[in-house]
């Protein structure tokens, strides 16, 4: 009996020592300049264990999902795929705004994600050791605009799989009520005739003056600025002046910016602030949810957001916005020729396959995504349950999503008279840059920072952050 206990103790001790020793050796390897072989070793190990697990050489799929709102749909898709093919698919969803953090810790594990997202050229720089060349996959060949993919030196490392659009979402019910007023200050008679900043401003300001008649508390929903809720301004709105600047210079990834269109940015930002239902002093504690709630309850007529906002409006308590009344208007900022400007359409979700996973896993992962975007069952999931507008040619018109804002995006995409504003914010130097811009915008809204200061800071931060990230 005694002897038995002794042996247990000794075994446990050995186990602990083994643990610490492996940890040490793992840490030391890169020091000896053997990083590459080390990586190969781990990849080899992975494939071994996989073979043991799956035992059929089919590999496994581990997809780290970006969108919490469709987490259960992906689980359903995974289960369906496993049932059909026998390949195990694991889906993990990162919490909202936590994707990079989750990815960083998941990638460090032995069973790392085989399918993950990068958010654009800047995200690619972070993850380029982990992204596999997808040039020869069907997925890439199905893209209707191959330019959308992330490529470098002839290789394709990120394939977009969902296209999204954002602009000013408006409640047509309230707008019709406004245009029916006899004492309105503008000549136009419908929202379709708003096609530049001057008209938008005139309408918004007149609506503010007549807000009691319209039964609204303000034209624009709160310009939300609480922590983590300023992306609609520091990323999405900032995209417009940058789009025009990049268009003018022809350089989509400059080291420094002139911020030429800062006055236009100020125009639209002031318009949001001055015609909002919330006083600028109280914006620091408003969240995106608050804004979408105000819009859904009919307290505000307009809110800047993207097509993903529909589910939020639909689910909001006390929602009065009808499906047929929710529409998009482009964000006009007062640039010459903007009458032809469309809404902002692009993606920051690029699908990448882990280059350090085993070949079987890579093959399985690509096959899984190809099944999702080309088989009848997969496509049904995509358009009905995920509600994605995909950039793939495998989708017919009838297979496109049915939610009202997604249809609006589709309508704008088809309108070839208009030019689309691309999502150039994927070239913004870092999250830090966006956070600093957000903080400055809030200070400006509160009256604690002059606009010239903000412009100066922003150009400076851009240059600094580009330089720091390049180090």
């Amino acid at each position: 009996m005694k002897r038995l206990k002794k042996w247990t103790a000794v075994t446990m001790l050995i186990a602990v020592l083994a643990c610490t020793l492996t940890a040490c050796s793992k840490e030391k390897k890169p020091e000896n300049g053997q990083q590459d072989t080390n990586q190969n070793d781990t990849a080899q190990n992975n494939s071994n264990t996989d073979n043991n697990q799956a035992a059929n050489g089919k590999g496994r799929v581990y997809y780290l999902n970006f969108k919490p709102e469709v987490a259960d749909v992906w689980e359903k898709i995974a289960a369906e795929y496993t049932k059909e093919t026998g390949v195990p698919v694991k889906v993990v969803t990162a919490a909202s705004g936590e994707y990079e953090k989750t990815l960083k810790s998941e990638m460090a594990k032995k069973e790392a994600p085989t399918l993950f997202h990068i958010n654009g050229p800047v995200g690619y720089q972070t993850w380029k050791d982990y992204t596999m060349d997808l040039k020869d996959t069907n997925l890439y060949s199905w893209l209707n605009t191959p330019d959308l993919a992330i490529s470098e030196d002839g290789g394709v490392f990120g394939v977009p799989f969902v296209v999204e659009g954002y602009g000013i979402i408006y409640n047509d019910d309230i707008m019709q009520k406004y245009f029916a007023l006899t004492d309105k200050a503008v000549d136009i008679t419908s929202v379709d005739q708003i096609n530049n900043f001057a008209t938008l401003k005139a309408v918004a300001e007149d609506m503010t003056a007549k807000k009691d008649q319209l039964g609204i508390k303000g034209v624009f929903a709160s310009t939300s600025f609480s922590a983590g809720n300023d992306w609609r301004w520091q990323t999405h709105l900032m995209n417009l002046p940058m789009y025009y600047e990049f268009k003018e210079s022809g350089n989509k990834n400059p080291d420094t910016i002139a911020f030429t269109y800062n006055e236009n940015f100020k125009n639209i930002f002031d318009l949001y602030l001055n015609n909002s239902l919330t006083a600028p002093e109280a914006l620091g504690s408003k969240s995106v949810d608050d804004s979408m709630g105000e819009f859904a309850r009919g307290e505000a007529a307009m809110v800047q957001n993207g097509n993903w906002g529909w589910s939020e409006v639909q689910k909001a308590e006390g929602n009065t916005v009808k499906e047929e009344n929710i529409k998009f208007l482009p964000i006009y900022i007062g640039v010459n020729g903007e009458e032809k400007q469309s809404i902002c359409i692009g993606t920051e979700n690029f699908l990448s396959v882990n280059s350090q996973a085993s070949a079987d896993d890579q093959k399985a992962s690509i096959a899984f995504m190809e099944w999702v975007f080309s088989s009848d069952k997969g496509k049904e999931f995509v358009s009905k349950d995920l509600g994605f507008i995909t950039p793939f040619t495998t989708f017919e018109d009838a297979e496109k999503p049915v939610d009202p804002l997604a249809r609006e995006v589709d309508r704008y995409m088809k309108n070839t008279d208009l030019y689309t504003v691309t999502w150039d914010f994927t070239a913004f130097p870092s999250q830090e840059f966006k956070n600093m811009l957000g903080a400055d915008l809030l200070s400006y809204a509160q009256g604690n920072l002059k606009w010239e200061e903000l412009v100066k800071n922003t150009s400076q931060n851009w240059a600094d952050e580009k330089e720091m990230s390049a180090q």
Binding site: K5, K6, T8, A9, V10, M12, L13, A15, V16, C19, T20, A23, K26, E27, P30, E31, Q35, Q39, T42, E100, K101, K104, S105, M107, A108, V122, Q125, T126, W127, D129, Y130, F225, S226, A227, G228, A279, E281, A282, L283, G284, S285, S430, Q431, E432, N435, M436, A439, D440, L442, S443, Q446, N448, D464, E465, M468, S469, Q471
Partner: protein, 281 residues
């Protein structure tokens, strides 16, 4: 007998040792190693020497976060300990309902920091909006005092309990003897009670200093560093460095190591200083 105990040492201590090694020792050593590396994931790191440490000081974020943290720590440590001690004195007298009061004062400590931060943000914002027409993000001063109030509210109850335990352990004979010798109430307090509760003071100062220095949840949920980065404390700055820029993970790690050294030096100095003042009963 002693020998038999020794034999069983691994059996009883191993589970704890394993847990300690996995959850503390290994990550800690890895963390120090990683502060000298450039990495995206922690298992795939490249040695870069002290570059991370020089980059940690390449802009003023870190020094200004350090300065803000020091200011905050000084103010909150003084306030918390004085108020907690006064409450403890009050609640060791024979007043009716002391137990109820003790429970009530202790309760805030049971609520998590993030939740507390959001609750106080609501309270402070509505007060500020009603009085000065601004919210907590509009001035660094609001954020600073908001954090101090929040920290006091959360920590005072806990420290109070420790002080109460200390005060109750002061032998009544000592106080009686002092009173017979003609000591005033103030003299009894400063010459008998306080020296006798020095062990409690040591532990309370240690807890408040280290907790104020390491404050993160409350900072994140109450101000998130706004306006600008003016109310950003060190832990939050480290977090933002790690996740805010590509390729800056190592710099965040380097800042964390510096942070550890600073907190270590300060708390050990404090322990050493107050330990010397402890007396045997």
């Amino acid at each position: 007998m002693q020998k038999t105990y020794k034999k069983y040492f691994p059996v009883f201590a191993l589970p704890t040792l394993i847990a300690f090694a996995i959850a503390f020792l290994v990550p800690f050593l890895m963390g120090i190693y990683l502060s000298f590396c450039k990495f995206t994931t922690v298992t795939n790191a490249k040695w870069v020497g002290i570059a991370n440490y020089t980059r940690a000081f390449s802009n003023r974020d870190f020094p200004s976060a350090l300065w803000f943290t020091v200011k905050f720590t000084v103010v909150s440590v003084i306030l918390i300990n004085i108020l907690a001690f006064l409450l403890a004195l009050l609640l060791t007298r024979k007043v009716k309902g002391t137990n109820v009061f003790r429970t009530i004062f202790f309760m805030p400590n049971l609520i998590g920091g993030i939740v507390l931060g959001y609750i106080w943000q609501l309270i402070i914002n509505s007060v500020l909006l009603a009085t000065v027409g601004a919210d907590i993000t509009s001035r660094a001063g609001y954020g600073f005092w908001g954090l101090v109030v929040l920290m006091c509210w959360q920590m005072i109850g806990y420290m109070m309990i420790i002080y109460i335990a200390g005060i109750q352990n002061v032998a009544p004979e000592l106080i009686e003897a002092a009173q017979i010798d003609g000591a005033t109430g103030w003299q009894v307090l400063t010459k008998v009670t306080i020296p006798m509760v020095m062990p409690s003071v040591t532990i309370c100062l240690f807890l408040t200093i280290s907790n104020s220095f390491k404050l993160f949840d409350q900072n994140l949920s109450l101000t998130a560093g706004l306006p600008g980065k003016q109310t950003q404390m060190m832990a939050l700055d480290i977090f933002n460095t790690f996740y805010g820029r590509n390729g800056w993970e190592g710099v965040g790690q380097a800042k964390a190591v510096i942070f550890f050294v600073i907190v270590g030096i300060i708390t050990f100095t404090q322990l050493w200083l107050t330990r010397r003042k402890e007396v045997e009963g």
